[in-house]
């Protein structure tokens, strides 16, 4: 079964809470989505690069505040994230 990155984010937001730091696991997320763990992990890594998700050292995962806010934009179209650079500012 194929799953979009947005679907993974939506499931992650539904399963976790950024403000209360509630997390889930990749296994639980993959199971909820009905896809394999590897596919889920690949999407999660991309979401982390977008700062929409966070993977802690104990491998627990959760959506970030940015991830939760993205879903409220209600856009299914082109979505490209330009997170700040190392100096804290987005590249010009």
């Amino acid at each position: 079964m194929c799953v979009t990155r947005r679907t993974v984010l939506a499931q992650l937001v539904a399963s976790t809470d950024a403000e209360r730091r509630e997390t889930t696991t990749v296994d639980a997320l993959a199971s909820a989505l009905g896809v394999d763990k590897r596919t889920t992990a690949e999407h999660l890594n991309a979401l982390v690069a977008c700062e929409l998700a966070r993977i802690d050292t104990d491998s627990s995962v959760r959506a970030t505040i940015s991830g939760e806010e993205l879903l409220t934009l209600d856009t299914d179209g082109v979505v490209l994230i330009d997170p700040p650079g190392r100096n804290g500012d987005a590249d010009a």
Binding site: T4, R5, A46, I65, L70, L73, L80, P83
Partner: protein
Amino acid sequence: MSGEADEVRYDPESGRYDVFECPDCNNVVLAVGSDDPPMSCHDQPMERVQDVDMSVDPPNVKEVLLEAFGLPKAGLDICLCVIGEGPMPANEVADTLGYDRSTVTRYLNTLVDLGLLRQSELNREGGGVVKVYHSVDLDWMRQETLVGFYVWAGEAASLIEEANITKREYLEENPDRELPDVFWESFSGSG
């Protein structure tokens, strides 16, 4: 106009669009999507053009966007790269396309300026914001791009009219001379 084998010619039966002409004057109009109520000129219904000898190169959506809207190729590449992928980091897009990340950011801002993308900001847990570029409302974009293209087509049609008039005037004044090579460059707007 082209001599290529894949050239296309107006087909009144296709239903994709219609070209109407006034039976009394030279007015010709393009209608996309609907002819209800029918196009009129001089308060009389216009007629569908039936016989067109001239054929054209089939347009390519990439070329149309590049030519009509001045959409930079890199900008189009970025949109095509991201469509269907969902949230995608700028770094990944840059790596995929072989651009610098700063180039991707610059063209994203160009797409925002053109009205083809919208920029929003998401709060960041570590402070500051994360920039996100996303599609504008599709119905709005459809309307804007169609109107924008019609403006471009109107400008192009005006150039063709101007060229034809200039050519006629030149030949009337110089019945024994060929058109000079610089003819197509002699009026504004030509390349």
